[in-house]
Amino acid sequence: MELNKFLTGTNSTSVLDNILYYLVLAISIFSIIPFFTIIINSSLVNFDYSLLIESQFLTYVRNSFMIVSCVLILTFIFGVFSAYLVTFHNFYGANFFKYALILSFAIPPYIFGYSMSAFFENYGVGYSIINFFFDTEMANIYLPDFSPITNSVISLTFTLYGYVFLLSRASFINQSANLIDLGKSMGFTPSQRFLKIILPCARPGIFVGLSLVAMETLSDFGTVSFFGVSTFTTGIYNSWFIFDDLETSNFLSLLLLFFILVFFTIENLSRKKSKFHLLKNDRRNKKTDLSGKKKFFAFLFCLSLFTVSFIFPFSQMIYWSIKFPEYFENLNILKLNLNTFLIIFCTASLIIAFSLISNFGNRVFKNKLLSSFSNLSISGYAIPGIIISVSIISFLSLISGISNLNLKTLFIGSFYGLILGYFFRFYAISFNGIKSNYLKINYSIDESSYLMGFNKFKTFYEIHWPILKKNIFFIFVLISIEIIKELPITLILRPFNFETFSIKAYNFASQDLIEAAAIPSMFLIFWTSILILISLNYFFDEDK
């Protein structure tokens, strides 16, 4: 009785209440397993500081740093400028590009990398095009020969700038028209208004976008491994799976996590700040018409961005697929589709169910212990897939080591293990999505419902669920997009012979069979594009 009072603040708790409480606690603790495993592992590592001066290590740091800073600069330019154009101006296709530029999310960076490589290689697509128009055998010298790092930077930039685009657009839209009118009356030119008013006001939103880009870039495995760049993620993968060098792997994981944590913190702080920059009741900005020349350049800029980020990879994958139809025979397309749907359905349902329960529990119990554990539980999304996979394996070994439970065979290389990996990585998407929707429901709505005689569970069923369900559908779609694109977790934890589009594409590409990788890549882009089109409403929620 006393325990109940402490836990829930009420005396008349039912058995169901207790079950719910412990369930929520269990879910939250469960979802921080990877985070704790890394900490436990790192405390087991005898730090060998000679690693720090080892040449390989310095290469990881230098490459990762190079790639992150270049990608940040480029995504900033492309993302912010395109968002500025479509938010504040009328030009041909402005409304189309508003949606079209989001489609870049459909392309995973590694698939963009495959199309880069297929286009620019000797006697590749670029060569064929030049050859066709100019009839020259010397076409290869006109094509730039990018270094692996440049290739990675370009691939990551054009697939990740969407974060900056979306988030800066959201802050632009919420900017008060009064501010800009004030700028006009003070005699600022349009470019001065952009640099002195619009940009500084949108800073928190842009920071959130850039931090997400940085985190994604640092976590990227597929692209850098394809181009053979030594970064943290490839370093972790190689030292663990090729050299079986646990120490280096843990050490690198810890360092990578530290860097990511920096961006994670920036992101969270900026998110909080950005709330104060949103003006609710003020006038919204009206779009201005651009003059002839500028109109054309705005159109050209957005068109090029859209072409490079979406048309370029997608059309190439279609081109290769049609050109080499024989690869279709080696692929069981139906099975790949079914595998993908199965894994999406199981994982997304599980994640959403768990995050619903956790959010609901947090709301009805208003308990500090619960909420602090739940806040930690979103840490998974900051942890790169590759580290999550490694930590799952070492966690299972740890459990197997101290008990007789043979969890290793149950989870490693099995369907369950794969779901587990996705769960840790994508739980935060769902948890935060539901949480932000829950926050929109005034707490006194719940109280009104209790006063009308509904108990907690009926309140959920009658009040919460009808309000939340529309967004839960979108969260389902978002998780699906992420799972289809996901590579390292699937690569490491999948059961033998269980293949998805991303795995197929990766496997072919690493054998230098880009033509063969095209078919699964095409399917992958096809499905993610459809999912993105379905979820457009969710992306543009701020417009209303």
Partner: protein, 358 residues
């Protein structure tokens, strides 16, 4: 006989913010209305939330119909009490329209007879033409009416209203106050109404409680609170009249330096605890003094407020004390600032209300 509803020696608190200690009040008979008045942020809402079962009681007891609802160790969940609470910020369910929102109030009603049909309520609160609209489509005043209707439909044993008329425009407000009073009398539903408007409380309440700085300062009938405020805090909160320094001549006669002798008209005073010859503060309410242009007692006017049916003049004695005098609006002699204003002598005041000087 037992009281219908009682709060005994209760300590209310929500979080660490405000704590209200030693609160005692009751509703002796079913159908009576209590109004709680106090400055904002004093914890009035906390009291309602605790009675509804949304907050725990720190100390003391709350009983309804003899049944213990809350005490330190006991908390009957809100859904198990037949108490309706209408929130200040209207809490309509956003995914249900007006009618559906009202019908949800029937959920708890386990009795067979209802005091109102949904359509009666729609009529009473003039919601007929918005019954199919959703909460975001209606004004805040309309939402408050819906919220009231939703609270009434379950025929609660006790109705709790938190600032029920705060969002409603003044013209409709009075009409709605009349309506609520009429409904409460007709249906014999007991209610506790929280407000910061004393006039509203005096109109609606059989009894009123004044809550100031974490205490229930006075719990009494509106008449008594108005005419016999029991402490300086209550006087200051109600902003009734001014306090002047007087000397006690006898239990029924006072003397003021400038105004002269002040008599208790009906021999009614609260001077018993004080000794003759003591100096005390006397409450002079605007209607206590009468205007007389021929009087020798003249004071300087420093302000005049037009209140429609009357004027309130603010006068200043040479010692700097401010005194308010109420004069009928039809009064022909309009006096300007800095003019002299005559007061009829000798002064007779209905109730002498004095406080110790501090």
């Amino acid at each position: 006989m037992k009281n219908f509803f009682e709060v005994c020696d209760a300590t209310f608190s929500s979080g660490h913010k405000h704590e209200l200690k030693n609160i005692n009040f009751d509703i002796p008979n079913k159908g009576e209305v209590v109004c709680l008045i106090g400055p904002s942020g004093v914890g009035k809402t906390t009291i309602l939330r605790t009675i509804a079962g949304l907050e725990r009681l720190k100390k003391g007891e709350i009983r309804l119909n003899g049944k213990l609802l809350s005490s330190r160790g006991v908390l009957i969940n809100p859904e198990k009490r037949n108490i309706a609470l209408s929130f200040q910020d209207n809490c309509l369910f956003p995914h249900k329209n007006v009618l559906q929102n009202i019908l949800l109030g029937l959920e708890r009603a386990n009795r067979k007879e209802f005091l109102f049909s949904p359509h009666e309520l729609l009529d009473l609160f003039k919601l007929k033409n918005i019954q199919n609209m959703y909460p975001h489509e209606i004004s805040s005043g309309e939402a408050q009416r819906v919220s009231l209707a939703r609270s009434l439909i379950s025929s609660p044993d006790l109705l709790l209203l938190d600032e029920p008329f705060s969002n409603i425009d003044p013209i409709l407000k009075e009409e709605l106050q009349n309506l609520v009073k009429e409904i409460l009398i007709k249906t014999k539903i007991s209610a506790i109404i929280v407000t910061h408007d004393p006039n509203e409380a005096f109109y609606l309440g059989d009894k009123c409680g004044i809550i100031i700085s974490n205490k229930l300062r006075q719990f009494d009938t509106p008449y008594n609170i108005y005419h016999f405020p029991n402490s300086l805090e209550v006087v200051n909160f109600l902003k009734r009249g001014s306090l002047v320094n007087v000397k006690i001549i006898s239990k029924k006669i006072l003397k003021h330096k400038r105004l002269g002798i002040i008599n208790a008209k009906y021999g009614c005073s609260n001077l018993n605890p004080f000794n003759e010859g003591n100096s005390v503060k006397l409450l002079i309410q605007p209607e206590d003094l009468e205007h007389d242009d021929n009087s020798n007692l003249k004071l300087k006017i420093i302000d005049r407020k037009f209140r429609g049916t009357n004027f309130i003049y603010t006068l200043k004695t040479v010692d700097g004390e401010l005194i308010h005098v109420l004069v009928e609006s039809h009064h022909q002699h309009l006096h300007e600032n800095n003019e002299e204003f005559g007061i009829k002598t000798p002064i007779n005041i209905d109730h002498l209300v004095c406080f110790e000087k501090n």
